[in-house]
Point group: none
Chain length 232, copies 2
């Protein structure tokens, strides 16, 4: 779900280990980038902008810890979550590792499951919540924080897609959208669904809103739909 498609940069000088990690992460739905030294890693960070880094402690040339510090110093990369990888028995370095700015720390050998779990946890913490405002129109209230829709103080029961649809409409009032625009905006660009599917969800949303508010969603014949407080 929310973690799907996140890009993880794996930095380790041993190819088999990189490979193992990459396989584990890809099975979990992540996209992987790989680098075997700090120079390559840095190019990839700048170039590909991954969502997080798995960084081996021991690296030829510049050490992992050095690299982590550098990333944290630079404005553009300071927020990049880093998980440090280290061999067993280097416990005493832990503190140093975390002080270098790493967000977590994992000891080899580790199970793929543990790796994925930690990675999720770190990503979760690093993703700041979006702006959450309450929107009100003619007694119809959409409250993103409570993830709820109310019509004249009565809860309206809408499914996930209808909720997103309504949220989009309420944040983009008075303007007409074609079915394909709605598919892009509400469903997300990379899905393939019939345009008529939009009609069905519009219908479901109207039904859920009930007589009192269904006329807010207006049909623009030959074009699509529009959310408007003005009668058509």
């Amino acid at each position: 779900m929310t973690n799907a498609g996140k890009r993880v940069l794996i930095v380790d000088d041993e190819a088999p280990i990189r490979e193992m990690i990459a396989v584990a992460l890809e099975m979990a739905g992540y996209e992987c980038l790989e680098a075997e030294n700090v120079q390559d890693a840095h190019s990839l960070v700048v170039d590909q902008r991954p969502d997080m880094i798995l960084l081996d402690w021991m690296l030829p040339g510049v050490s992992g810890i050095e690299f982590a510090r550098r990333l944290k110093r630079e404005e553009a990369t300071a927020e990049l979550p880093i998980i440090m990888l280290t061999a067993k028995g280097e416990e005493e370095n832990k503190v140093q590792g975390l002080e270098s700015g790493a967000d977590d720390y994992i000891t080899k050998p580790f199970s793929p499951r543990e790796l994925v779990a930690r990675l999720k946890a770190v990503l979760r913490r690093a993703t700041p919540p979006g702006v959450e405002e309450t929107i009100e129109v003619n007694g119809l209230i959409l409250d993103p924080v409570c993830h709820r829709v109310m019509a004249h103080d009565k809860a309206v029961d809408v499914g996930p897609t209808e909720y997103r649809l309504l949220q989009f409409f309420m944040t983009h009032q008075e303007r007409a959208y074609s079915r394909s625009q709605l598919l892009d905006q509400v469903w997300g660009g990379n899905v393939y669904v019939e345009e008529r599917t939009v009609d069905v969800h519009i219908r479901r949303l109207r039904k859920a809103l009930g007589q009192s508010h269904e006329q807010l969603i207006q049909t623009v014949r030959g074009t699509g739909y529009r959310f408007s407080t003005k009668a058509s």
Copy 2:
């Protein structure tokens, strides 16, 4: 209901606007305090301890945003809900406004109805009792001091995790939380457990609460869970 008699502090330098807002709110059953600058506002906050603040963006002297930041910084007032008022076309300030700690944001001109709706929404979800205070909802009582849960004067037997979960929910009512957020908030940030584990503990908690109260914990499909006294 719970909103009756709440005291709202209106901070705006234009008297007519303050008056208009005050009338609207009083009709809706709120009690109003008024201030035309930050100095007066601050005195009133300290002195009268209002339940929330309607704060104009543009103020002579110290700006509204500055004031909001100050309030959020101070321990005693950090929890005070704030709704920012701003003139149309200052959209670009929106993010800044919310970052300053405002809980919502409303653009002039607005209808009294809209204002009241938002105010309700903000108040509804922003009344977190102190840690040591017992919380009561529909005959369900959580007593942090005795570390105990009672349903209609009968002790409810819950495990440690379910207790923390319930406590979190009761101090953060009405708001929807994802499984990730619950893991962060209830389990603590540094644990690595499956998201579905949350479901299991929700189940255990519901079971422990019994028919009389289990509907307080609502499923928000596709998102997570919510503790709410209102039917879904």
